[in-house]
C-alpha cells in the first residue's frame, strides 16, 4: 500500500511534469496560428494565465500534497499500528520460542542422558563384541580344526572312493559271473522243466497204472463174485435137479396131501371132540371133588351123629338118672329156662340181701357214728358231772365257810350286843343282821338250786348212761347181726366190693373222659366265639339296614335285572330279525344265524334301513331322470338327424326316417361282434340298391348313405 501510495505521488508528479511540457507546445502552436500582433499581449496574458494556472496548480499540488501527507500520516499510523501488532506478535512468538527453547533444552538434556546411556550400552556392546570376537576366534579355531578334519576326511573319502572303484570293479566282475551263473541257472531250469515234465508224465503213468490196478482189483472182485455166483448157480442147478426130482414126486405128494387133508379134517373133528371130552372130564372131576368132599362131610356127619347119639344117650341116661323128664331138647330148654328163672330169683334174692346188707352197713355206720357221738356226749356229760361234783364240793365248802362266818358274825354281834348299849347301835346292827340273814337265805336258796341242778345233772347222766347202754346193746346186736351176715356173705361182699371198685374205677375213667370232652367243648366254644358264634338266647345281632353290603348287593341286583331285560329284548330282536331275514333272503338268515352271538344293535339296523330307503329313493329318481334324458336325447336325435332309432332286439337297430313315405319303411342295422354295423335287408332297403352300392359298397360310409337316403326322401316329398 505504501508503495502504491508512493507511486501515485510519483505518477502525479510525472503527470504534472508532462502536463507542463505539453502545454508549452500547444500554446506555441496557438500563438503561431492566431497572429503575431497580439502576440505580446497574449503572451503576457498567457504568461499571467500561466502564472495563475501555476498558482492554482501549486495550490492543488499543495492540497494534493497535504492530502498525501495526511494519507501518508494515516498510512504511517496504520503502518506503525501494524508494526506494533507485528511486534507484539513477534514478542509472543519469541515467548513461544523461548518456551520451545526450554523444552528443547529439556529434551536436549534427556538426549544427553540417553546419549550417556547409549554410550554405556555402547561400551557394554563393545565388551560384548570383544567377547564375541573371542568366541569367534575360538570358533575360527574350531573351524580350522574342522577344516583339518575335513581335509583328513576328504583324504579318507578319496581313499574310500578308490576302494569303491575297486569294489565296483569287483562288482562288475561279480555281475559278469552272476550273469554267467544266471545263464547256467536258466539252462538248469530248462533242464528242471524237462525233468518236471518227465515227472508229470511218469506220475500220469503211475496214476493210469493205479487206475489200472484198481480196475484190476475190481475185475478181480467181479471175477470172485462171478465165481461165487457160478458156485451158487451150480448149487442152484443141483437144487433145481433135486427140485425136478421132487417135482416128479409132486403127484405122489398131492395124493399124500389129499390124504393128509382128510386126516387133518378128521383130526380137527377129533380135536373138537377131544376138547369137548376134556371139558366133560373137567366137569366130572369137579363133580368128583364135590362128591369126595360130600363123602368126607358124610363121614364127619356120621361121626357127629354117633357123637350126638352118644350125647343123646348120655342125656337120656342123665334124664333117667336125675329123674327129670328130659327126653327132648325142648324139655332141656324148658329145664334150662326153669333153672335160669331160679337163678334170676336167686340173684334177685341175692340183690335184695345185698341191698339189705348195704342198708345194714349203712345203719351200722350210722349207729357207729351215733355211738361215737353218744360216747363223746357221755364223755362230755361225765366231764360236766365231774365239774358239777367239784362245784358241789366247792359250794358245800362255801356253805361251811358261810355258816362258820355266820356263827362268827353272830358271836361278834352277840359280843357287841353285850358290850354296847342296845340303843345306840341296835338299828344299825339289826339292819346288818337282817342283811346278813338275807344273804344267808340267798346263799341257802342258791345252794338248794345248785343241789337241784346237781340232781338234774346226775339224772341226765343216768339217762345218758342208760341210753349209752341201750346203744351199746344195739350195737352189739348189730355187730352180731353183721357178723352173722358177714360170715354168710363174705365172699359175695368181697365180690361186690370188687365190682363196686371196678365201678368206681369205671366212673373215674368216665369222669376223666367227660372232663376231657368238656375241655374240648370249651375249646370249641372259644373257637366258635372267635369265629363269631353267639348264644341266641342271650344275644341278638343287629346291623344297620342300609349298610354298604346291602346297598352294593341291591345295585348289583338291579344291574343284573337290567342286563337280563336287555338280553331278552335283544334275543327277541334277534329272533325277529332272523325270521324277517328268512322271509326275504335265504342267505341272510344263514348269516344271521351264523352271527347270532354278535348281534348288531337295533339302532344300527334302523339306520341301515333308513339308508337303504334313501338309496332306493335316489335310484328311483335317477331312473326317472335317465328316462327323461333318454327321451330328450332321442327326440333331439330324431329332429337333428331325421331318423328315429329303435332297438328291436339285441344288437339290432331300426332306423325310421322322418320323410318316409310309409310307416313301415325302415332300415335295419346289426352290430357285429367286432363293433362294425351291417345293413340288413328289408323291403325298403331293396328299393335303394344304387345308394347301397354307391355309399356302402363303394364309399363304405353309413352316415353318407343315410344322408343320401334322407335327401332322396326329402326331394321326393317336396316334389310331390
Amino acid at each position: 500500500m505504501d508503495f502504491e501510495d508512493d507511486t501515485t505521488v510519483l505518477t502525479t508528479l510525472k503527470s504534472f511534469n508532462s502536463f507542463i511540457s505539453h502545454t508549452d507546445v500547444p500554446q506555441r502552436l496557438s500563438e503561431n496560428s492566431a497572429g503575431s500582433g497580439n502576440l505580446q499581449s497574449q503572451y503576457k496574458r498567457s504568461m499571467e494565465l500561466l502564472e495563475a494556472a501555476e498558482r492554482a496548480q501549486s495550490k492543488n499540488r499543495y492540497l494534493q500534497l497535504d492530502g498525501e501527507k495526511k494519507q501518508m500520516e494515516l498510512s504511517h499510523k496504520r503502518a506503525r499500528y501494524e508494526l506494533e501488532k507485528v511486534a507484539s506478535d513477534s514478542a509472543r512468538d519469541l515467548e513461544h520460542e523461548v518456551d520451545r527453547n526450554q523444552d528443547l533444552l529439556g529434551r536436549l538434556k534427556k538426549f544427553e542422558e540417553r546419549e550417556t546411556e547409549a554410550a554405556k550400552n555402547l561400551s557394554e556392546q563393545v565388551e560384548a563384541t570383544r567377547a564375541l570376537r573371542k568366541s569367534m576366534e575360538g570358533l575360527n579355531r574350531k573351524l580350522e580344526e574342522r577344516d583339518t578334519r575335513l581335509n583328513t576326511a576328504n583324504q579318507t573319502i578319496s581313499s574310500l572312493k578308490d576302494e569303491i572303484r575297486e569294489l565296483k570293479q569287483r562288482i562288475q566282475n561279480q555281475d559278469s559271473t552272476i550273469s554267467s551263473q544266471t545263464l547256467e541257472n536258466q539252462e538248469l531250469q530248462e533242464q528242471l522243466d524237462l525233468q518236471r515234465r518227465k515227472h508229470q508224465e511218469v506220475s500220469q503213468l503211475c496214476q493210469t497204472l493205479q487206475a489200472a490196478q484198481s480196475s484190476c482189483l475190481e475185475h478181480m472182485i467181479k471175477i470172485k463174485e462171478l465165481e461165487r455166483r457160478l458156485a451158487l448157480q451150480e448149487q442152484d442147478i443141483a437144487i433145481v435137479k433135486t427140485v425136478k426130482s421132487e417135482v416128479a414126486k409132486v403127484p405122489d405128494l398131492e395124493k399124500d396131501l389129499k390124504r393128509l387133508r382128510d386126516d387133518n379134517v378128521f383130526l380137527r373133528e377129533s380135536r373138537e371132540n377131544c376138547s369137548l371130552l376134556k371139558e366133560e372130564v373137567k366137569g366130572l372131576r369137579r363133580k368128583l371133588e364135590r362128591m369126595e368132599k360130600k363123602t368126607e362131610e358124610l363121614v364127619n356127619i356120621e361121626l357127629e351123629k354117633e357123637r350126638l347119639v352118644e350125647k343123646l344117650k348120655a342125656w337120656e341116661n342123665l334124664g333117667q338118672s336125675t329123674g327129670l323128664n328130659i327126653r327132648k331138647p325142648e324139655d332141656l330148654s324148658r329145664e334150662v329156662i326153669h333153672i335160669q328163672q331160679r337163678e334170676i330169683a336167686l340173684k334177685e334174692q341175692n340183690y335184695t340181701l345185698n341191698s339189705r346188707l348195704r342198708s345194714a352197713e349203712r345203719t351200722q355206720n350210722e349207729h357207729r357214728a351215733e355211738l361215737a357221738q353218744q360216747r363223746s356226749k357221755t364223755l362230755e356229760e361225765q366231764k360236766k358231772r365231774e365239774m358239777q361234783e367239784s362245784l358241789v364240793r366247792r359250794l358245800q365248802k362255801r356253805v361251811l365257810l358261810l355258816t362258820k362266818e355266820r356263827d362268827g358274825m353272830r358271836a361278834i354281834l352277840e359280843s357287841y350286843d353285850s358290850e354296847l348299849a342296845p340303843t345306840e347301835y341296835s338299828p344299825q346292827l339289826s339292819r346288818r343282821l337282817r342283811e346278813a340273814e338275807d344273804i344267808l337265805q340267798k346263799t341257802q336258796s342258791h345252794n338248794v338250786e345248785m343241789e337241784a341242778q346237781l340232781m338234774k345233772a346226775q339224772e341226765e347222766t343216768g339217762t345218758l348212761k342208760l341210753q349209752l347202754q341201750t346203744v351199746e346193746l344195739e350195737l352189739e346186736a348189730l355187730k352180731m347181726h353183721q357178723a352173722s351176715s358177714a360170715d354168710s356173705n363174705t365172699s359175695e361182699t368181697k365180690e361186690e366190693v370188687n365190682i363196686l371198685r371196678q365201678k368206681i374205677e369205671d366212673l373215674e375213667s368216665e369222669r376223666q373222659r367227660l372232663e376231657e370232652q368238656n375241655n374240648i367243648l370249651e375249646m370249641r366254644l372259644e373257637r366258635h366265639n372267635l369265629q363269631g358264634d353267639y348264644d341266641p338266647f342271650k344275644t341278638r345281632v343287629l346291623h344297620f339296614k342300609m349298610n354298604p353290603t346291602t346297598v352294593a348287593k341291591q345295585e348289583r341286583q338291579q344291574d343284573v335285572e337290567a342286563l337280563r331285560e336287555e338280553v331278552t329284548r335283544l334275543s327277541e330282536l334277534v329272533r325277529s330279525l332272523q325270521e324277517g331275514g328268512a322271509m326275504v333272503q335265504g342267505d341272510c338268515s344263514i348269516n344271521a344265524s351264523g352271527f347270532g352271538l354278535s348281534l348288531p344293535p337295533s339302532k344300527e339296523v334302523v339306520d341301515l334301513r333308513k339308508q337303504m330307503e334313501s338309496l332306493e329313493l335316489k335310484i328311483q329318481r335317477l331312473k326317472e331322470v335317465f328316462q327323461r334324458k333318454i327321451q330328450e336325447f332321442r327326440t333331439v336325435c330324431y329332429v337333428l338327424t331325421g331318423y328315429q332309432i329303435d332297438i328291436t332286439t339285441e344288437n339290432q337297430y331300426r332306423l325310421t326316417s322322418v320323410f318316409a313315405e310309409h310307416m313301415d319303411d325302415s332300415l335295419l342295422f346289426k352290430k357285429g361282434s367286432n363293433g362294425s354295423m351291417q345293413l340288413m335287408e328289408t323291403e325298403f332297403s331293396r328299393t335303394l340298391g344304387e345308394m347301397v352300392a354307391l355309399h356302402l359298397h363303394h364309399q363304405k360310409s353309413i352316415p353318407a348313405f343315410l344322408s343320401a337316403v334322407t335327401l332322396d326322401l326329402f326331394s321326393r316329398q317336396t316334389t310331390i
Binding site: 369265629q531 343287629l542 352294593a552 348287593k553
Partner: protein, 202 residues
C-alpha cells in the same frame, strides 16, 4: 373328652371306644382296599397318622352306626362289634374283624371315675391300630370286589331302634383266626380278633 386327665368315667370310656372303632374301621377299609385309596385323607390322631374317608355316603353311614354304638356302650349292652367283608360275586364272607367288648356293668351304678390315664389308654389303642395295619401282611389278598357290613352283638332285651334290623352272625366257612392286641379303659375291655377264609393253597 369329658373325663379328666387322671380318671375316666363311663361316658368318657364309651366315647373313647367309639372313637377307636371309627378310626379302626376307617383304617381297615383303607388297608383292605374296600374303598379306593384316593377317597381317603390323612389325619393325625392318637399321635399317629391315620386315613379317614371322604366318601360322603360312607361317612354318613359310619357316623350313624358309631353314634348308636356309643349309646349302647354307655348302656353297657354291647357284647361284640364286628366288621364283615363279603365278596359281592359269590356273597361269601371273606373276613371278619371282631371286637369283643367286656363291659363292666358296675360302672353304671357307681359314677366314680376309674384310675387310668387317657394317655395310657391311647397308647394301647395305638398299638391295636398298628397291629390292624400290620395284619395286612398275612391276610390273603381280596381279589374280587367286596363290600363291608358292621354287626353289633347286643343283649337280648335291647329295643331294636329304627333303621336297624336283626342279622345273621355271618360266620366264615372254614376260617383261620388270629388274635390281635386288646385294650381296656377299665370299664370297657376290647379284644380284637380277625378271622379270614382259609385259602386253598394253605
Amino acid at each position: 373328652m369329658t373325663s379328666t386327665l387322671n380318671g375316666i368315667t363311663l361316658k368318657g370310656s364309651a366315647e373313647l371306644v367309639a372313637d377307636f372303632f371309627s378310626f379302626g374301621i376307617n383304617s381297615i377299609l383303607y388297608q383292605r382296599g374296600i374303598y379306593p385309596p384316593e377317597t381317603f385323607t390323612r389325619v393325625t390322631h392318637y399321635d399317629m397318622s391315620l386315613q379317614l374317608t371322604t366318601d360322603t355316603k360312607l361317612k354318613n353311614y359310619l357316623t350313624n352306626v358309631v353314634s348308636q354304638l356309643k349309646e349302647w356302650l354307655f348302656e353297657c349292652t354291647v357284647q361284640k362289634f364286628v366288621l364283615v367283608i363279603t365278596c359281592l360275586e359269590t356273597n361269601e364272607v371273606l373276613e371278619r374283624w371282631q371286637f369283643d367288648i367286656d363291659c363292666d356293668k358296675s360302672a353304671k351304678e357307681s359314677s366314680a371315675p376309674r384310675e387310668k390315664s387317657i394317655k395310657s389308654i391311647q397308647q394301647e389303642i395305638r398299638s391295636v391300630i398298628r397291629q390292624i395295619t400290620a395284619s395286612v401282611t398275612f391276610l390273603p389278598l381280596l381279589e374280587t370286589p367286596c363290600a363291608f357290613d358292621l354287626l353289633v352283638y347286643t343283649d337280648k332285651d335291647l329295643m331294636v331302634p329304627d333303621k336297624w334290623e336283626e342279622s345273621g352272625p355271618q360266620i366264615i366257612d372254614q376260617s383261620e383266626e388270629v388274635r390281635l392286641r386288646s385294650f381296656t379303659t377299665t370299664i370297657h375291655k376290647v379284644n380284637s380278633v380277625v378271622a379270614y377264609k382259609k385259602t386253598d393253597s394253605v
